[in-house]
């Protein structure tokens, strides 16, 4: 793993304007899907984006791949500003940044054979010319499928196998960064582990960087180096996996960890503390003022409604120490507090 920054996102915003009829009047409003987030991904590193539906994690991945154009902010890939590049200027980026989708059923063209699905990206980018078939077979082998199945259609494969085809398609053009949007959540439990292991193996062998979007906290802990916890279009806590899971500081992260059911309860090792949130996530059309989490937060005070807490280290000391150790840990809360008893302590 090198220290080269591959992707740098600064103050990224995506607002979707829309019009709605209210009574006899037309009202304009915006959905603030992503509202000012910053993060970096280094070569070979994996950043996990977690959060509940509507927190902006999928919009973020669409922006980073430039399937969508940000309203404001800067996206730099490999040192180059790609924020507002035109479609024809994006060709190199399309090769370097690939995506793996959630649904292995709708993300593959049912009328194309596996060979056609996998050779299309090669043709588009003019790779392996004349040796496309050999490359496709190599790709199938890489993801653990039988290279002889090159002429089969997606419908002839199971869900897990289709997801492998989706992975092979992403790898076809030798990308540097892969955005995986819930890549295993549509799969059965016994198949999930197979695909997770495949992704981990490919990451190690090919030195890929990942942005891994998922809602399953166990999957994220297993796969990611760094984790960004999102809530209503903002990153509320960001840091090394170990920090986020074992010493979370932001109340939302704490609640999220605490809400995830834990199999260890059956083994008699329950978490020492449980936090239950009330209510649902507010609408991103009209998010709460100040701290967005305050409407569900048990610590909320007046200041939370007035001032938006910036994403910071808990203390200056912490920041310098973290900087030295290379372990970043930032959170956006007016009243941060470390809690270490939210997940069960599993004896080694």
């Amino acid at each position: 793993m090198s220290d080269q920054t591959l992707l740098k996102v600064t103050d990224l915003q995506r607002h979707f304007p829309f019009r709605e009829v209210q009574g006899l009047r037309m009202v304009r409003a915006t959905v603030k899907a992503v509202d000012g987030i910053s993060f970096t991904v280094k070569e070979g590193q994996t950043l996990g984006l977690v959060g509940e539906s509507g927190c902006g994690k999928s919009t973020t991945s669409r922006l980073v791949t430039r399937l969508d154009e940000p309203t404001a902010g800067v996206i730099e890939f490999g040192g180059r500003d790609i924020t507002h590049l035109k479609e024809h200027e994006l060709r190199d980026i399309r090769r370097d940044v690939q995506m793996i989708f959630q649904d292995p059923y709708s993300s593959l063209n049912p009328r194309q054979t596996v060979g056609a699905i996998l050779s299309t990206p090669l043709r588009v980018h003019g790779l392996h010319q004349g040796k496309e078939k050999a490359r496709v077979q190599e790709l199938l082998e890489l993801v653990g499928l039988n290279p002889e199945h090159i002429n089969r259609y997606p419908s002839e494969f199971s869900g897990g196998q289709r997801q492998r085809i989706g992975i092979a398609r992403a790898l076809a053009v030798e990308p540097k960064l892969i955005i995986a949007d819930e890549p295993v959540s549509a799969l059965d439990v016994s198949i999930q582990a197979q695909v997770m292991n495949l992704l981990a193996k490919l990451r190690n062998e090919l030195g890929l960087a990942f942005i891994f979007v998922a809602h399953d906290l166990g999957v994220v802990r297993h796969f990611c180096d760094q984790v960004a916890v999102m809530y209503l279009g903002k990153i509320v806590e960001y840091g090394d996996k170990k920090k986020i899971y074992e010493a979370p500081e932001h109340p939302y992260t704490q609640a999220l960890l605490s809400a995830a059911p834990d199999i260890n309860v059956a083994r008699g090792i329950a978490p020492k503390e449980r936090i239950r949130l009330v209510g649902d996530v507010p609408s991103p059309i009209d998010p709460p003022s100040g701290c967005r989490f305050r409407t569900r937060c048990w610590k909320a005070q007046d200041i939370c409604a007035q001032q938006e807490p910036p994403l910071l280290s808990a203390t200056a000391d912490e920041a310098t120490r973290a900087f030295r150790e290379g372990g970043v840990h930032l959170q956006a809360c007016h009243f941060p507090e470390v809690k270490t008893d939210l997940v069960a302590e599993v004896p080694a």
Binding site: V189, N197, V220, H222, P261, D262, N264, V346
Partner: protein
């Protein structure tokens, strides 16, 4: 299909005393004849649900967990489904029962909460009206009384401002609220059995925790039996009393939920637990179960799990290939039954776990 005799339950005295059996499913098979052959969705399934207890039916897609529960409520098209065996709900035999019987038992004796609350409420009707209608279907009361009951139910499931929310349409509710409304709809006629089919799979994790807590609280209050159908073993660990693990249409392991998850004794249950990533510990590599679940059109001979089983070499002869294992108590464990040929599964699996 080979005739299978199901072992009579060998449950401990404690489990027998735990509550009256509301639902007694015996030797249930559900098959769908299709152009390509007969899909054996459920084969020879036997289980009981008891008052005051939560039974988790766990399995992957195609394991028959939903199909078997839909049979309880008569939700299969009788023309296209072949159901054999016995389903006794509160003493009433439901296999082969006419539609009128199902109409009577639905909602009063058994109700179901589905995975997707968006598609299981009618989008054109107000939430309160839908609940009131379900009440009126079984009680001779005026609209006003039924509506009052609906508001009470919405209050009970923790919907704030129920008087006003009863006048809302489903699309005005959030996912979690809709699921609460579905639960209110399910419980309006005070059924003895609530079947919750993946009730929280479509919900966010903080809302999931709320809904599971609600189901647990309501069960304590109403004392009804709950069948929780899920693929999420962590949810089972936190909510269920009993567990039935299904694979390819058959039960493979049953017992106390906590005991089964803490010490699985069937290779499939063991494999599932081993393959889970954890949010409370770091793992080197996930231990996946190899292969994929079999097609229900063409089930493997013998034990359906044998093509994926790591332990079949430890069974003498070719029993795993040729003989369907019968239910039997797990050697060395009380209140536990499995369908597996392994002579001493507990020791075999323990040895495997230590060897890793």
């Amino acid at each position: 299909m080979t005739a299978t005799v199901n072992t009579i339950s060998t449950q401990s005295a404690e489990a027998r005393d735990a509550g009256d059996v509301v639902l007694d499913v015996a030797d249930l098979s559900v098959a769908f004849p299709t152009e390509e052959g007969v899909v054996k969705a459920v084969s020879n399934l036997t289980y009981q649900a008891r008052l005051g207890r939560t039974l988790a039916i766990v399995g992957e897609s195609g394991s028959g967990k939903s199909v078997s529960s839909m049979a309880v409520l008569g939700l299969h098209n009788p023309k296209r489904t072949k159901i054999t065996g016995s389903i006794k709900l509160d003493g009433i035999e439901l296999v082969g029962a006419p539609a009128s019987t199902f109409q009577k038992i639905r909602s009063t004796k058994a109700a179901m909460v589905f995975q997707d609350p968006q598609s299981s409420l009618h989008p054109f009707h107000k939430v309160g009206k839908q609940i009131a209608e379900a009440y009126q279907a079984h009680h001779k009361v005026s609209k006003q009384v039924a509506l009052k009951r609906a508001v009470e139910m919405l209050d009970l499931v923790g919907i704030p401002n129920p008087q006003r929310r009863a006048n809302s349409y489903p699309h005005e509710f959030s996912g979690g609220m809709r699921q609460r409304a579905m639960i209110a709809l399910g419980l309006v006629n005070n059924p003895k059995l609530l079947i919750a089919d993946e009730p929280t799979t479509a919900l966010d994790v903080t809302v999931q925790a709320q809904i599971l807590d609600l189901v647990n609280d309501l069960q304590k209050e109403f004392g009804s039996a709950v069948i929780l159908i899920t693929h999420d073993l962590a949810v089972v660990a936190e909510t269920a009393d009993d567990i039935l693990v299904m694979y390819a249409g058959r039960g493979v392991e049953k017992g106390s939920a906590k005991e089964v998850l803490a010490q699985p004794s069937h290779p499939y249950t063991y494999g599932l637990l081993q393959s889970l990533p954890s949010h409370s510990e770091d793992l080197e590599e996930l231990r996946a179960i190899k292969g994929t679940p079999p097609s229900l059109l063409n089930l493997p001979t013998g034990c359906s799990f044998h093509p994926r089983c790591d332990f079949k070499s430890q069974v003498d002869g070719d029993a795993c290939w040729t003989q369907l294992p019968e239910w039997r108590p797990t050697p060395g464990l009380s209140n536990r039954e499995i369908r597996c040929h392994l002579a001493d599964p507990v020791a075999t699996l323990k040895h495997d776990e230590e060897a890793r």
